[in-house]
């Protein structure tokens, strides 16, 4: 199931909230969450639910094993088993086709991959459980004794499908002993509505424009259209992903969990290093804490470490070379920044840093978008064919003008403008009544528009393509 769907909004979520709060018993509440989470997961992938439960069981046992044999050589077995098992899952289900294809093309063999398909959320829950077992091993967190509670952590539908990657250590207390507060639920509602709006009204509309330009016949595109398509993709991916994180964080609040922020206005970054502190933060910190630092971090072989981290960061995004190239593209700039670029930038006006970051980030999305390298090449060529006869099209002007208010609003949303206005009103004016009423009203407006868009999406006139 996905959050931005009518069934989730009108049946799943209200029922879940009502049942959850129908009893004060913590056990009841946990079981409500577990059952709803499993139902949420089964909606899309009924078959893989067994895999997720099995995977949770292995990691649950490994953590207990580590605690039992702490201080002995046997403890290491737990962690080795978890890492092997989870990476094994990823290799089997996510990278099987990729590995087999590459092996075949390098060694001229003809292995066939099992081709199971990618179980939803596997990239997220494997990382969550790895971090849990490693944290237990390091003694940063106590192993969870109750399997239902651990299963609840792994399967929590808020973040299971698309993150953020929630660390057990961050919510360990809340799993055992959380206190739901009205103020949090209300904050959660507001945050959820904002996230839903970002996904449905910004990302989905951007997606239509992306499909129109980036999936078009590339040869026929004008240079302007190629750039517009790419900008729309930058908007789509940011609002889609951060909208999803907003909804996850909001849902967490509704049920008494506090997840860490996952995005902090990434397009206002002043460098690539800064961008990755603002974009998908839970992934960046995962790689930092569980890979970069154990590899030696800044202390030894720093560029090799960076290379490995960015190779794998790219690869995590998908089993295809373009994602690896995309990761390495960032490696190049992060390495340059580490070597000298950040120092240079710090001497220049801030404005230039912003421009520099965007000039790197936005073209980077083209590598992310095209899994087909031939198309990627053709599109890049289009982007940089300045001065060509086909520089602009009437259709592009039309698309810009008919979406102009939306475009301006979207660009403003990329910057912390509303955040600042909000904070100013809240802190300086002490939450005046009109502000409170206004913010409730805004939630309703957001919800209303999103429902209209979601129903509107089902409008599928079946007519004249058929004459």
């Amino acid at each position: 199931m996905v959050f931005a769907s009518l069934i989730f909004l009108f049946l799943f979520l209200p029922l879940n909230l009502l049942l959850y709060y129908s009893s004060k018993n913590a056990n009841w509440r946990n079981w409500v969450l577990i059952i709803f989470s499993l139902a949420f997961y089964s909606w899309g992938e009924p078959i893989w639910i067994t895999l997720m439960i099995f995977s949770a069981l292995i990691d649950y046992i490994n953590a207990l094993w580590i605690e039992k044999y702490r201080g002995t050589k046997w403890a290491k077995l737990g962690i080795v088993s978890t890492i092997f098992f989870n990476l094994g899952l990823l290799i089997t289900f996510k990278y099987d086709v990729f590995i087999v294809e590459n092996v075949n093309s390098i060694f001229d063999t003809s292995f066939t991959s099992p081709g199971y398909g990618l179980p939803i959320g596997i990239s997220f829950y494997t990382f969550q459980t790895i971090s849990y077992v490693v944290d237990v091993y390091r003694g940063d967190v106590k192993a969870q004794k109750s399997f239902p509670k651990f299963l609840m952590f792994v399967s929590l539908f808020h973040q299971l499908v698309a993150g953020p990657i929630v660390r057990y250590a961050h919510i360990a207390d809340e799993i055992d002993n959380r206190k739901e507060k009205l103020s949090d639920i209300s904050k959660g509602v507001t945050r959820f509505c904002i996230g839903l709006f970002k996904k449905v009204v910004i990302a989905n509309i951007a997606a239509e424009l992306v499909a129109k330009y980036m999936d078009a016949d590339i040869g026929g595109l004008s240079t302007g259209a190629a750039w517009f398509g790419l900008l729309m993709f930058a908007i789509q991916i940011y609002f889609d992903f951060s909208g999803y994180s907003d909804m996850a964080i909001g849902l967490g609040w509704m049920f008494g969990f506090h997840y860490h922020e996952n995005f902090k206005y990434p397009y206002t970054a002043t460098s690539i290093t800064d961008f990755w502190r603002r974009w998908h933060i839970s992934l960046g910190t995962f790689f930092k804490d569980y890979l970069y630092i154990p590899l030696g971090g800044n202390r030894k072989r720093v560029y090799l470490n960076l290379f490995i981290v960015w190779f794998l960061t790219g690869m995590w995004h998908g089993a295809s070379w373009n994602f690896i190239f995309w990761g390495l593209y960032f490696f190049v700039f992060i390495a340059l920044e580490k070597a000298f670029l950040l120092k240079w930038l710090s001497k220049l006006p801030k404005f230039i840093s912003h421009v520099y970051a965007l000039i790197i980030i936005i073209p980077g999305w083209v590598i992310f978008y095209f899994t087909d390298t031939a198309k990627l090449g053709a599109y890049v060529e289009k982007l940089f064919s300045f001065g060509a006869a086909n520089a602009w099209s009437a259709e592009l002007t039309n698309d810009i003008t008919t979406n102009l208010f939306w475009l301006i609003f979207t660009v403003i949303l990329c910057m912390p403008v509303f955040h600042k206005v909000h904070d100013t009103i809240e802190n300086k004016l002490k939450k005046p009544a009109y502000f409170q009423v206004g913010s409730i009203g805004l939630n309703i407006v957001f919800l209303f528009l999103c429902v209209a868009q979601l129903v509107g999406k089902s409008y599928n006139p079946f007519i004249y393509f058929r004459f």
Partner: protein, 424 residues
């Protein structure tokens, strides 16, 4: 201080109760069963409740269909759709002069077409059903009229012409005609937007030049152009009007050596308030304010109209030339009752001229005129007729054969294939 906290708490409570309350009320309303199974405005069946099977459940198909069922049957669905399209037209400047629309989910529409096709054509006046369609790039709205934009290439046109040639060569003794209908935009396009579509005349010329020399080519485009300021195409639908079809008929008569009937003294009926396919696709407010009317002529000559069958060439069931029950969005189906696979008209003109017409839906408005000149007119829909076409021609004693297609169809593999496959 405590007052502020209380105020804060009250606001929070209202926020939460409103959110959960609205969703719950909507959720309960959504569970009330609905009666509608067809969406008139979209001209398609609504997704039915999925039927359970183990394989559908495990593959996730069951839930996918449940999702579709839920949104297709959501309370006040049409109102929500209106809100959505109003919102979408308010997020930028809507030029009063032109608009362009992109049909976003045409492939989806086409896929659905496969699953829901035939019953509707046979059971009622739901019109114009192409099982598989072509991907149309855009709709162009100009002065409150909607236009399709032609972009077909010469290779496709040639392949259409060659299919017609193959019929010509295997039917000695039958005079073959070809008539390509241009799109409305051909006559309305201004210099400013000239790049939006390829000019139709060169494309038609190219087809006609590729045709065998003994095939008679009907220059309907030139006759239509003379009357371009008249009501020859609909404002909100992709078809032409009966008047447009009439001018094409006049051009045909000239080519075929016939005297066209004059419309001056012929009675007619009109179906008003017709919002056609292009309105339904775009839901454009300007189009809504400019509805069409469908006029059909009640010719003096009596005619016997029969509906035939793909399965049996000697089956002919007497019926009526006009589907007068057609109304609203389906008004164009009045002509020949919509897209029946095969129909036949027999007249009082015992002149030995017997013609078969192979057409898509544009031909529906055209065919009725021929009862004024022919002893027999057989009309075959290239998309739906699956019978033995060649044997049927012989059995009916056909001596003239007209292929009439709009310019899109003549440049679309789907239609070309269908025409080709009539001959088994």
């Amino acid at each position: 201080m405590s007052e502020i906290t209380n105020n804060g708490r009250r606001t929070q409570l209202i926020n939460v109760i409103l959110f959960v309350g609205l969703l719950t009320v909507g959720g309960i309303a959504s569970l009330v069963p609905k009666k509608e199974t067809i969406s008139e405005i979209e001209n398609r069946k609504l997704t039915p409740f999925p039927t359970y099977s183990d394989s559908a459940l495990w593959s996730g198909e069951y839930f996918r269909q449940l999702d579709l069922y839920y949104s297709d049957n959501f309370p006040l669905r049409n109102k929500w759709i209106n809100v959505s399209s109003d919102f979408r037209s308010s997020i930028g400047f809507q030029s009063s002069e032109i608009k362009m629309y992109d049909p976003t989910n045409d492939t989806e529409a086409n896929e659905k077409a496969d699953t829901t096709k035939k019953e509707e054509i046979i059971s009622g006046p739901l019109p114009d059903d192409g099982a598989v369609g072509e991907v149309k790039k855009r709709v162009f709205v100009f002065k409150n009229r909607a236009f399709e934009m032609f972009g077909g290439g010469p290779a496709m046109g040639a392949s259409y012409a060659n299919v017609i040639n193959s019929y010509n060569r295997s039917l000695p003794g039958v005079q073959v005609y070809n008539l390509i209908i241009p799109v409305a935009l051909e006559f309305e396009i201004t210099e400013k937007y000239a790049k939006l579509q390829k000019p139709n005349r060169p494309a038609i010329e190219h087809i006609y030049n590729t045709l065998d020399s003994n095939i008679k080519k009907v220059w309907a485009i030139d006759e239509l152009r003379k009357h371009r300021s008249e009501y020859i195409y609909f404002n909100t639908d992709h078809h032409w009007t009966s008047l447009g079809a009439y001018y094409a008929y006049r051009a045909f008569c000239q080519t075929a050596g016939l005297v066209p009937v004059s419309l001056d003294t012929i009675a007619y009926k009109t179906k008003a308030s017709f919002l056609g396919s292009l309105y339904r696709l775009t839901r454009d407010k300007g189009l809504q304010s400019n509805p069409d009317s469908v006029r059909y002529y009640l010719f003096k000559d009596s005619v016997n109209f029969y509906v035939g069958s793909s399965n049996n060439i000697s089956y002919w069931n007497k019926s009526k030339m006009y589907g007068e029950g057609a109304s609203g969005p389906n008004s164009y189906s009045v002509f020949l009752q919509g897209d029946l696979p095969i129909v036949k008209m027999e007249t009082q003109h015992k002149n030995g001229r017997k013609i078969a017409i192979v057409k898509e839906s544009y031909g529906n408005a055209f065919a009725p005129y021929l009862i004024n000149n022919y002893e027999k007119v057989v009309v075959v829909d290239q998309r739906y007729y699956t019978g033995d076409f060649m044997t049927m021609l012989k059995a009916e004693g056909i001596n003239e054969l007209l292929f009439i297609n709009n310019i899109f169809a003549a440049h679309t593999p789907f239609h070309i294939e269908k025409i080709k496959n009539l001959r088994k």
